[in-house]
């Protein structure tokens, strides 16, 4: 009997997810405010039912009361942030908020199924981070001097990265954590702030050379710490921000040539880079060594097929570090390939939302920040999903909001709060603009009236 419910739940969750994905794209195109709010409400209902079905299945397969407790805590968390945003920030983007809740939900479901103590920790971090994040939109509005702290951002980044490189212990072949946190996650934000504050003032060749030097410093330390994933993310963010601010395609070409050259050099210089590449080219041939992880991941994705095995029906725990870098494979195995494709599309709509916000901002500093953070997000998603599916070599980064990992979760939630802050600012600007337009119109009308009157005389 339970098996029938589990089997049915696969299709229920999948259907809800497909509808949700459709909503993501449809909502943006909906011009009518009332309609849009209705769609956003429906999205919340969809998330609620996905969570309900998934946690019901997990409970039925484990009969662990902790699952119920976790489910209730999670629902309270979602309810609180949804209400707080509506009360405190009326102009916040609710679609962005919904997508955040959706991705967090998928993460909570998989983590709860894999290891409930991890899920509980993750929920705690999410709650703490969200609480901190609530003040960020206010800070963005008040702290206009943020734009002038250029070299402070660069300093923080370089010092922290260097500290990790010198002091951190090696785990999974890379130096990542210092006192239990991953500074590179926080530096993703300071790095974008540095680039934006520099390039929003000056896009001369001299400026580009200066930012390139600082960026090279960041990327270089990350490569030496063997944190390849972060190194590539920083590099791509740098490239995109230079290109967009200078509007010079030449820099993009130069960067790509330089990046490819650096990749070739890294391949010949570092054994761990060669290992990743050989595991990507033919993982079966090096199954006993570096290929093991990716082969396990592909077994999981393949066994899941289109519709998945159903929650608690697969064996994702056989993939090393499944909770972090390979959560996507676990999703494919148990929730299915179609669900996973929907997830990719939700991430894509998430990114497009951020670019859309960037497009509408007029202040070049804020504009670049939104774009830089969006780029980092999108490229990180690409690296982790591409790595797990063997589309590209594995780089060992997390799937933002879904994977287990306090630092990554914290920094992503902060990033989103910053983007919300920028969005709210933009809404204010619009309002201001509307107001001025109205005043201007009134003035013109007044003048016309005077003109009419004078003519009459």
């Amino acid at each position: 009997m339970i098996n029938v419910i589990v089997e049915l739940s696969k299709y229920i969750i999948l259907t809800l997810m497909i509808v949700y994905t459709f909503h993501c794209f449809y909502t943006v195109r909906q011009p009518d405010e009332e309609e849009r709010n209705e769609l956003l409400r429906q999205q919340l209902i969809l998330i609620f039912f996905i969570d309900f079905t998934a946690f019901l299945v997990i409970y039925l397969k484990t009969f662990d009361y902790k699952v119920v407790r976790f489910y209730i805590e999670m629902q309270i968390f979602f309810a609180v942030i949804q209400i707080l945003y509506r009360v405190l920030y009326k102009k916040a983007s609710l679609l962005l908020l919904n997508n955040m809740c959706m991705l967090l939900s998928v993460g909570f479901i998989m983590l709860c199924r894999l290891d409930i103590t991890m899920a509980t920790k993750q929920l705690l971090v999410a709650a703490g981070a969200s609480a901190v994040a609530l003040v960020i939109p206010v800070m963005i509005r008040k702290m206009r001097f943020l734009r002038k702290l250029t070299w402070i951002y660069a300093g923080i980044g370089v010092v922290l990265l260097a500290a990790v490189f010198l002091l951190a212990r090696t785990s999974y072949g890379a130096k990542l954590t210092l006192l239990g946190v991953q500074p590179s996650e926080a530096i993703k934000i300071t790095f974008v702030f540095f680039m934006a504050s520099f390039l929003s003032r000056d896009t001369s060749l001299k400026a580009v050379v200066q930012v390139s030097a600082v960026a090279a410093f960041h990327v270089g330390i990350l490569v030496l710490s063997r944190d390849l994933g972060s190194a590539v993310i920083f590099f791509v963010a740098y490239l995109v921000m230079v290109y967009v601010s200078t509007r010079n395609v030449g820099y993009l070409g130069l960067g790509l040539v330089g990046g490819s050259g650096a990749a070739v050099v890294a391949y010949h210089l570092f054994g761990h880079v060669r290992q990743r590449v050989s595991a990507w080219k033919d993982p079966m041939a090096v199954y006993q060594n570096e290929g093991y992880q990716i082969v396990q991941s592909l077994f999981a994705i393949g066994t899941g097929g289109w519709f998945g095995m159903g929650l608690c029906q697969g064996s994702p725990e056989s993939i090393p570090v499944v909770k972090n870098d390979f959560i996507f494979s676990a999703i494919c195995e148990e929730l299915g390939g179609i669900f996973a494709i929907c997830l990719i599309l939700v991430c894509m709509s998430f990114f497009l939302m951020i670019v859309n916000i960037a497009l509408r901002i007029i202040n070049p500093f804020y504009k670049l920040i939104a774009l830089g953070l969006g780029t980092e997000y999108a490229f990180q998603v690409f690296l982790t999903i591409g790595g797990a599916t063997k589309f590209i070599p594995m780089t060992g980064v997390t799937l933002p909001l879904v994977s287990y990992g306090g630092s990554s979760l914290l920094s992503t939630i902060l990033m989103l709060a910053i983007i919300q802050g920028l969005y709210i600012l933009r809404e204010d600007e619009d309002e201001e603009f509307e107001k001025r337009k109205k005043e201007a119109l009134q003035r013109i009308r007044a003048r016309e009236e005077i003109g009419d009157r004078t003519r009459r005389f």
Partner: protein, 476 residues
């Protein structure tokens, strides 16, 4: 008005870069989704069927392992469920299909391993599945219908008798494996009980599938490769002439024809049909190691083979090898090692106009009720030689049967082209007996590759086994 227009134009230009960046990332996301579709649609099977994948074993909790059938409807493996629910895998043909069907306890081998996923997946009618679910009963796994023919397999098995060796039978136009016998063998029904003994018995290595894993010197069957190298250098076999004196000596190394026979003046066809060692040793030194290496690698020596488990054949001659080794290698001695399956693949490409079809064992998958779930479509693996080269080699091989070392296959109601070999494997001159060939030469039906360890010449041991298989194919 003009300024407003200019401003909007400027804004659009400013946003060009943003559009470019978003389009780029949208393409990347779609690429990810597209790759996942591609993986699930095409690449998936090759991964989940890997013997390293132990995930599917958990399916066994809910599915009764399906049957393996031969193409002529015989049961090769089935699971019997007793009243108390205990399951037992049984193999009605016992030792006959031991290596190719394999076993399911103490690890998995053969088809039991290759088709593990299908055997443990159930495509029963969904109402039946739901009823089973409520009744707490297991679903029955799918039936795997193999390309194996029970009649040919049994014939080859009996014909090989208690000698060591292997027989492979292929359909060259599709790549279907019709029979694959290896001896010494074992009984998969009792493998769990005899496991220790089987694993430790290094003199017999009964668990080894000699058809795909055996490494034998090719003997005179390698003259096919030497002949192809000659053809590639000269464009034709016509105009070749050699005067065989029964032995040839170069750099103090002597090669003799079998039994010291003096073949005298001969053209290429006669030299091939009589398997004249002197002619081919001389030819080898003129062709050179580099040319022989090139042809060998074209024919998949030192290369991957399109099989699941096999050992690569090895060919070590090269441009800097000495004359004695070149002479030996050209007649199939030297350091060359090959499996009976690989020789069958080379022969099958000759029989199929130069194109090697990918060999396969799973013909189709049916659900328990017999409704089709999946069928394997024949697939070309590689062109190993041109159509013209294949047909000229076929002419040479016809001569071997018409008036050469395999003449006992002549006049049996079907036509055969082939090549015999006796591969010396020690200093005292003892040899393995080889035959490779195909029947119905104008429109080839089957390819047979036979090796009998320590069987003497090809015509003594291997050819009669091939004859039994051809007879069984045409007359049973």
């Amino acid at each position: 008005m003009a300024t407003e227009h200019a401003a909007s134009k400027r804004r659009r230009a400013r946003n060009k870069e943003y559009t470019f960046v978003s389009v780029f990332f949208v393409l990347i996301f779609l690429g990810l989704a597209g790759y996942l579709v591609y993986f699930n649609a095409i690449k998936r099977d090759s991964f989940i069927n890997s013997p390293y994948n132990t995930r599917q074993d958990t399916f066994a909790d809910r599915v009764v392992r399906g049957n393996i059938m031969s193409s002529d409807g015989e049961i090769l493996a089935q699971t019997n469920v007793s009243d108390d629910g205990t399951e037992e895998r049984s193999y009605p043909y016992s030792n006959i299909f031991a290596h190719v069907v394999g076993y399911d306890t103490n690890g998995k081998s053969g088809l039991e391993s290759e088709a593990n996923f299908q055997l443990l997946s159930s495509h029963e009618f969904f109402l039946t599945q739901i009823r089973n679910e409520f009744a707490g009963a297991k679903n029955v796994g799918d039936t795997v219908v193999s390309t194996l023919n029970a009649d040919l397999q049994t014939t080859a098995y009996n014909s090989l008798g208690d000698r060591r060796g292997a027989v492979v039978v292929l359909q060259p136009s599709t790549g279907k494996i019709l029979a694959m016998v290896s001896k010494p063998d074992f009984d998969p029904n009792t493998i769990a009980a005899n496991w220790e003994q089987l694993v430790n018995d290094e003199t017999n290595s009964s668990l080894l599938n000699r058809a795909t894993m055996g490494q034998y010197p090719p003997g005179s069957t390698f003259k096919i490769v030497t002949a192809l190298t000659y053809l590639r250098q000269n464009g034709t076999f016509n105009g070749f002439s050699y005067d065989c004196q029964g032995s040839i000596t170069k750099e103090d190394h002597t090669i003799r024809c079998y039994g010291g026979t003096v073949h005298g003046q001969e053209d290429f066809y006669a030299a091939f049909a009589k398997s004249c060692n002197c002619a081919f040793a001389e030819m080898g030194t003129q062709l050179g190691g580099a040319a022989l290496l090139k042809t060998s690698e074209n024919l998949l020596f030192n290369q991957k083979l399109p099989l699941r488990s096999y050992r690569k054949s090895s060919f070590t001659l090269n441009g800097s090898s000495g004359v004695p080794l070149t002479m030996q290698t050209a007649i199939g001695q030297g350091n060359t090692l090959v499996s009976p399956m690989h020789m069958a693949l080379i022969t099958s490409s000759i029989a199929n106009g130069g194109v090697l079809m990918k060999p396969y064992l799973i013909d189709k998958v049916q659900n328990h009720a017999g409704d089709e779930v999946d069928t394997t479509e024949p697939e070309a693996y590689k062109r190993l030689m041109t159509d013209n080269e294949a047909s000229l080699l076929g002419e040479l091989m016809k001569g071997v049967v018409q008036n050469g070392t395999a003449s006992s296959l002549n006049g049996r109601g079907y036509t055969v082209a082939g090549k015999t070999g006796s591969a010396e494997y020690n200093e005292s001159g003892a040899s393995h007996s080889w035959f490779v060939g195909y029947s119905n030469v104008d429109n080839p039906d089957i390819v047979v590759s036979v090796i009998v360890e320590d069987g003497g010449t090809g015509s003594e041991a291997a050819v009669p086994i091939a004859a039994d298989v051809f007879d069984a194919y045409y007359f049973d």
